[in-house]
Amino acid sequence: MSGENEMNDKEQGNPVLVIGAGVAGIEASLLLANSGRKVYLVEKTSYTGGNVIKFEEVYPNMDCATCMISPKQQELLANENIELLTLSQIAAVSGSSGNFSVGIKKKARYVDLENCIGCGACYDPCPVEVDNEFEEGLSKRKAIYIPCAGALPNVPVIDTENCLRFKEQDCQACQETCVFEAIDFTQQDEELQLKVGAIVVATGFKSFDLRQTTQYGYGKLSDVYSAMEVERLLASNGPTQGQITLRNGEPPASVAIIHCVGREEKGYCSSVCCMASLKLSHFLKKKLPEVKITQFYSDLCIPGKAYQEFYEEVKESGVDFIRATVSEVSQAGKELALKYATEDGQEKTLTADMVILNPAVEPGVNSTKLAGMLNIPQSEDGFFSEKEPDLTSIATAQDGIFIAGCAQGPKDIAETVAEAEATAGRILSLSR
């Protein structure tokens, strides 16, 4: 190519590996692919969109998350420069910037991506029913499944942990129903070797495990929920199609939202929960106009030009904000009782039908293993470390390996997308 900087000649046009097909991975992949680069997008699950597609609406403008993301997902699936490898994980990495060798372990889907047209006829006949992880266990799925209606790619996967065929039983129920001969039990797990010039780590986040706490009654008291569970309840393609009810089927008359669950254990502020709590309040009020909502928080974290207005709007709608630490949630007859202490030392109790806990944001699973393979440092809390934290959050100590989104640290969607675009900027730039 004429006029290119000779120093980076061997890197020019080299494929890029993007790890994680959430919002960050999708954005980075599209920018790189549209410039002409080949992109390998490796995704651990069977679907794209990561965590963002679990939200019905996102703050501060209450955009419909699926409406927002699905054009990007479709662009991704249609882009010829992007090779999407679902059910895949990184097995080994060697080499250096411009010349990485990456080993990928690709699990078999047992459903042919080309032949399957996504009609869903195979779900009914499957005899196995298990908790649907995407729906936070609030509904069931079969052993052959897609996580939710509208998931992309719209092709199911066979769960090898629960499918009877992997338990020595010769069940053919799904295959017998498929008229497109898309179900293929002979598929094998694969090992792939990729040669790439740069790597983007966009492995996202998971929530702090609320079962590690005892004081809030999570897992014991039936109407104590995690924020993610409530997101699924609010979703129109979720387990209750957007209905908010307690376990007994009745809508709650009062809801208490507790911030910062896990903050003390983790030692950092998860950045997004104050805003997410405001969003939940706003949404709950829309669905149940009479509901009484109380938020328990320590410091309100609503940085930036757009968020304070939203907070004021929510406050004006009648949501109570109490600066206090909740020490215990217990059952009090039909309701839940929250014992709390305000900053000036007063101890009080509040009752509510439903309690929503906001868990801390942690790095996505397997981050330690991945950090080891990529040879990039992690901080104590498991997030990938940037080389020069005060300068840019996306460059790691390894030349050619970049991080974006919650893999680097808890942040909102706008910051995530900016980081993803920034990795593309660094990779495409000649001067790095």
């Binding site: 955009d63 419909c64 699926t66 409406c67 209606a149 129109s236």
Partner: protein
Amino acid sequence: MEEEFTPRIVGFLCNWCSYAGADLAGATKLDIPSSLSVIRVMCSGRVDPVLVATALLHGADGVLVAGCHPGDCHYREGNYYARRRFALLKKTFETLGLDSERLMLAWVSASEGQRFKEVTNEFAKQIKQMGPNPMRKKISL
């Protein structure tokens, strides 16, 4: 002798949200009235009152215009204009003594298959009750 009235409803659906919502209703196998015929446009903002009036003058018993929820328009503001035009059209109909109830504007997002089913079934029921469109004339515009 009364013939069974089979309504003809035309739906102008925007490509990004409502058409996707209608597709989702399909993917989840919900029941949508067969009286509805969908015409795809890129944005609800494309639907000008002339199109709607033409539909009614050509014998449509009901016209549904569906777009993204306010704030979610793929083209930023198209649905706000659709909302205004529709309101004006409805008012014009009322002023002229025409059945403005035969017009419906709905916001359906890409994940609202269920809502699409509810909106269309509700509308079809309403139109069935109203009976055939008395405006069935052949007029060229």
